[in-house]
Symmetry: C2
Subunit: 395 residues, 2 copies
């Protein structure tokens, strides 16, 4: 096997550093061609450059370029091409010396480079949720046109991808799949009553039972908005109607998701909750390579897996996202943008946990949806959603 | 899709009738080209001929041929070619108007037709355990040479086949698979102590918790010899050493088996315990076709799946089979043949449940194993095993 040449957009974040951890463990099989990161942790990016020696680097602005240049000079490292801003991200995406683009940035920053990599027919290891939630229809259309492969890095979507690979490879997902079974732990409030949830605190909501993640996504798990956004992602990634996507509560987070085929057979993927597993899979796709980092799981040691139906009444965010996923318009984008602002407000202690869906409902009710939105429509809708959410929160 | 043309060897048995039940539900997609059955239930075979109108029929002898001919005459059915004996089974297997051969007979009768179908490069829906247990090395070698596809019909092996299909298709099972996880319910004695098992009766052993099967295979489940024979089958079907095959006890029989890949990912197949699922899958392989017969499963309705390590001390038959699977010689064949006789003796009330492994151990200890046995060696070893088992039982 020739070494995989990878580039990472968002190399200093959680997915980015875990991707490099896998690259570190497989130096003979992975070479790092490009790294891009924000200004928040330039020192970490410098250390990554020193360790992995990428040929291409992108940072947000001239000041950051200067910082990197100084580091390279002081460390007497060989020269590196540094391109600032969106131009740099797109350069990384288009670079024909790289096989796999890992899009690990948060937010809309990921959309343009993802589309650029698709146009080059690359393998995209997609960890940037916004790209699929807001611009899924554009991504899917372009990927089909350019025969690009999008390998999801979300554990649920990676599980579905692995489970339906034979159908994907012969382009028969539409005829062979009855349902995608998207599993979710149910979050910290799974066993709480609706009444108890009225008084849920920030600390209660931040206690995720299985996964250790950032604050925003942990709150999304508590509201189950996270599972809702995953329905939207799955809808586009696998090109199936929402009616064929079902959420199953699975508190142990071992079955990462499954596929029910039209013949009644269910195939699913299991593993310990560790993001390095879907990252590793995406980096080496379509091959399976022995992992030096992913912890092994024993079913007998786990002992028990349980499953339940989700409670849509207790988790109105899940219902909101389902509805937004059903209509192919700008609603999903608005839901995503408004959710970021509303969750931020909750994290600052400004609103109650149960106010999260209430505020989102208000924003959505005021939105005039645009059918099959263009990239510009999407950026506008996102901005509108954030502004309107701020207004609604202070009303 | 062109209709699949199938032939069934053993059409009046459990797998045979279930195969025809699926053909009945999919008349536009499946045509029955050939049927073969024993003399035990000729009336059922006649009804099958009337309903499915095969072109080729095989029965054991001239008397049975006469019976079928009389039926066809009295019912004024169009003429059917009827070939008696092994010649008939091989004719069904070699028939170039048939795409899939379902080998649903019990015992060594299945070996020759299976090998004949392999030489024609057909798809073989394999439900005949003896073929793989005793002659696995011959089957595998021949299948590779003639690019024949063996799709297992056992629920466990079908689950493994479905789970590792991408690796199978690119011929990468050796490098991509860490372990096969063969699940088993643990049978009726899973929760019994070793002491309690000393007094287990025929009735106790015949109470299988999940599957409804014939008496012999139900006893094999109770001793776990069944799981042991499945280890031997899996070893050949997927060409992996026994050290990579692990038995996991799973009392609910929902996860039918799974594959642990070298990257730590576990992919498994689930469904209700119903043989029509693996049969349906094998008939339509490589496509997935909506099933009219397979019952649907809801994970939330099932609620709970549990897993445990097997207890080799309580189930010595499992250890015996594991050992026989490790050495590639005539031991597996002897174990299988002797087991049939010993289980029969138990069913007749002649020996205690715990005497089953004790008698098998004695037969095995007296066997002089033959390395890479030929088909003739296998038939000899089988006969020797049965005779020696009878001797040991009466000693």
């Amino acid at each position: 096997m020739n070494p995989k040449r990878i580039s990472i957009i968002g190399s200093t974040g959680s997915i980015g550093t875990q991707t490099l951890d896998i690259a570190r463990a497989h130096k003979d099989l992975i070479s790092v061609r490009g790294l891009a990161a924000g200004s928040k942790n330039l020192q970490l990016l410098c250390e990554q450059i020193k360790e992995f020696r990428p040929a291409l680097v992108s940072v947000p602005d001239a000041a950051a370029v200067e910082h990197i240049k100084n580091f390279i000079g002081s460390e007497k490292l060989p020269p590196v091409e540094i391109i600032p801003g969106m131009e740099g991200l797109v350069a990384l995406a288009e670079d024909d010396q790289s096989d796999v683009l890992v899009t690990a940035v948060v937010g809309f920053l990921g959309v343009k480079p993802t589309l650029a990599a698709i146009k080059r027919g690359k393998i995209i290891a997609l960890a940037n949720k916004e790209t699929m939630v807001a611009a899924g229809h554009l991504v899917v259309e372009l990927a089909a046109k350019h025969s690009a492969t999008i390998v999801p890095v979300d554990s649920e979507h990676s599980a579905i991808f692995q489970s339906l690979l034979p159908s994907l490879q012969k382009n028969a997902v539409q005829t062979e799949v009855a349902k995608l079974l998207l599993t979710g732990s149910g979050g910290p409030f799974r066993t709480w009553s609706k009444e108890q949830m009225e008084s849920a605190t920030r600390e209660d909501a931040l206690k995720h039972p299985n996964w250790s993640m950032g604050a925003k996504i942990t709150i999304d798990s508590a509201t189950m908005m996270n599972k809702g956004l995953e329905i939207i992602e799955a809808r586009w990634l696998f090109n199936l109607p929402v009616s064929k996507i079902q959420v199953v509560i699975h508190p142990q987070s071992i079955l990462h998701s499954a596929v029910e085929f039209v013949d009644g057979s269910i195939v699913g993927q299991m593993g310990l909750p560790d993001m390095r597993l879907p990252i590793h899979y995406a980096l080496f796709y379509p091959d399976r390579v022995p992992s030096e980092r992913v912890p092994r799981m024993s079913l007998a040691a786990i002992g028990q897996l349980t499953f339940e139906e989700p409670d849509l009444e207790k988790f109105p965010c899940l219902a909101l996202a389902r509805e937004a996923a059903t209509v192919d318009d700008s609603k999903a984008c608005v839901l995503n943008g408004a959710n970021e602002i509303v969750v931020d407000s909750f994290l600052k202690g400004e609103i109650k946990f149960v106010d999260i869906p209430r505020n989102l409902e208000r924003v959505l009710s005021e939105h005039k949806p645009i059918k099959s939105p263009s990239l510009e429509d999407i950026l506008d809708a996102d901005q509108w959603a954030r502004e309107r959410a701020r207004l609604v929160l202070t009303a």
